[in-house]
């Protein structure tokens, strides 16, 4: 959050910004918080804390700019600083997997996928959701921001404090991991995932 305060808003302006620019994003914020914490109470606390911080630092928000990205950034930082450690959900991160992915700068776009379009279309909401939830938090986050919330790479870079190139490669890796999950579901459903 910027320490520089451009100007001070009056109470009336603060309330107007809060009601018209911040609160309309509460559905997306709660969804993001729930998919980070997997717990209703933690998600509520996280969203509430985010809104309180947003109000407290409202002078560093420039009216009419991207409130959603600004709020998501606060929520993400709150999650990392306060919730990640005490999250009730045991971490499903396969450390080796994450480390291997992070340690290579070059993304392998050659990975062939034998997952079929039809198999993905036939999957139930629970399977898709579970596959997403099973990803390590950093990978889950980029997919949520991009595919569920429609943020651009540039917005994601600001929310996550990482370069755009890293957004791009992390997304690609996240999607490959997601495809691995979906592929194993497809196999369980009896789809033939082998090449012709």
């Amino acid at each position: 959050m910027s320490e520089v305060q451009r100007k001070k808003y009056s109470d009336k302006e603060k309330n107007s910004i809060f009601d018209h620019e911040f609160l309309p994003h509460i559905d997306s914020m709660y969804n993001f918080a729930f998919r980070l914490t997997f717990d209703e109470d933690d998600a509520k606390d996280l969203v509430q804390d985010t809104y309180l911080k947003a109000y407290r630092f409202i002078n560093s928000f420039e009216k009419g700019t991207n409130a959603k990205a600004w709020l998501f950034r606060i929520l993400k930082n709150s999650f990392i600083n306060e919730y990640r450690k005490k999250s009730k959900q045991p971490s499903k991160v396969d450390y080796q997997e994450v480390e291997t992915y992070y340690n290579s700068d070059n993304v392998d776009y050659n990975m062939t996928s034998d997952l079929r379009v039809d198999a993905v279309k036939d999957m139930l909401g629970d399977e898709i959701s579970n596959a997403l939830n099973s990803l390590a938090v950093d990978f889950r986050t980029v997919i949520i921001l991009c595919d569920l919330e429609g943020f651009t790479y540039e917005e994601m870079a600001k929310i996550l404090d990482i370069p755009i190139g890293t957004v791009r490669s992390r997304l690609h890796r996240a999607r490959n991991l997601l495809k691995d999950k979906l592929r194993s579901y497809a196999e369980n459903m009896g789809y033939d995932t082998e090449e012709d």
Binding site: Y30, K44, G125, S129
Partner: protein, 90 residues
């Protein structure tokens, strides 16, 4: 099976530059490419089988994520609770 696959015999079966092509296709799907991307996309999908398959799989995954990872209902009392807390810190 996608009906367009019937015309797959016209496409080359190997992509000479998969890494670059797939990266471009993914950027297009994410709305990050604008200048001339429609033409590039049409050409790749018409001429290259691996690009065609990668594009359609990536596209359907984005669609199911968006349609099936529905938003969790925000607890009704959350907004009121936030407003109340803000009154306290004012």
């Amino acid at each position: 099976m996608d009906k367009d696959l019937n015309t797959s015999s016209k496409r080359k079966l190997n992509c000479s530059d998969e890494s670059k092509c797939f990266e471009l296709l993914e950027s297009i799907l994410d709305g990050e490419e604008s200048s001339g991307s429609k033409e590039v996309l049409d050409e790749k999908l018409a001429k290259c089988q691996p690009c065609f398959e990668h594009y359609h799989l990536e596209k359907v995954i984005r669609e199911v994520l968006k349609s099936k990872c529905t938003k969790h209902m925000v607890p009704a009392e959350l907004k009121d609770s936030i407003r109340q807390k803000i009154q306290e810190i004012k």
